[in-house]
Symmetry: C2
Subunit: 147 residues, 2 copies
DNA sequence: TTCTTATTGCGACTAATTCTCAATTGCAAT
DNA sequence: ATTGCAATTGAGAATTAGTCGCAATAAGAA
């Protein structure tokens, strides 16, 4: 199957797990976010639509979505992990402003290539990689200078 | 001051903070680890040497060590952050085996250079950056193949 | 030596995540 | 269709990492 739901169904079946309405809703709602989201935002969005599933179900479903490669954890903010869909979008990394929390996404093919070269050197097979750069964004640097 | 302790004393003094025996022990013990460590390992090592300081003191001291640039958080394992000394050692990144937990350190100057170029493009000033690649190490790939 | 202010340990607290369990439900085999 | 079993669910209890408040203590500047 080529659709997102199809991929999830395939993954679950291969593990002897079930495709339930709850799992369908979680998948659908996660993919309705444009950028990254955390568990609380997901929970709120589900409940606003009167989909009253429990936190436990969300937490139990999350690893399946991550292991199936459909969702990935991208970084942490205030010690809360942020997730993002991992399908149809090209891979990108993040600049994270430690002052205002702004997130800048960027893509640098050459870095990806060099990473693959490193992995080859060690006979390592990548599942997932993450590059996060913390620092001060342009705006905040300006504000710091003016104070 | 050029020593590690000297740097820490300077940092504390500049902030109007005190250099206490507890902080000295924490610094010393952190630097006695060869690779990375987590808070629990640090606590155990201190207590085995009969240095009975409390978790609260460790947690309170940690940010000073990180902000002074002597220690850095390098990655998370089982949702626990791992720390590492950040002095005298060149910067490096990590391959993390998701099967056996093995950590491989590597250094790739070219990646560092490209990162700086990206930051310049966005007018971003780096405080800290981290690249972690999760996947399967050589050994585990072999074992998977043979099973 | 004195005095101010930061620091300490302790235990209570918080918030995120995981677990337990009884009731329910997908779905493969009849 | 029906059945049976293993996976799943929600609710709330339990766990865990990390933080906080407080009274007693101790750095270190004057």
């Amino acid at each position: 199957m080529d659709t997102i739901e199809g991929k999830f169904r395939d993954y679950l079946k291969a593990k002897g797990l079930k495709f339930t309405p709850e799992r369908e809703l979680i998948l659908e709602t996660m993919f309705s976010f444009h950028g990254h989201f955390d568990i609380e935002q997901l929970y709120d969005k589900l409940h606003k639509k009167n989909h009253l599933l429990s936190m436990a179900t969300i937490y139990r479903t999350l690893p399946y979505l991550i292991n199936s490669g459909l969702i990935k954890e991208v970084f942490r903010c205030q010690n809360r992990p942020q997730y993002e869909k991992n399908f149809g979008l090209p891979h990108h990394d993040h600049l994270i402003c430690v002052r205002c929390g702004r997130i800048i996404e960027f893509k640098e093919e050459e870095i990806e290539r060099l990473q693959e070269r490193v992995c080859k050197r060690f006979g390592f097979k990548t599942v997932e990689h993450r590059l996060g750069i913390r620092g001060y964004c342009k705006n905040c640097l300006q504000k710091i200078k003016n104070s």
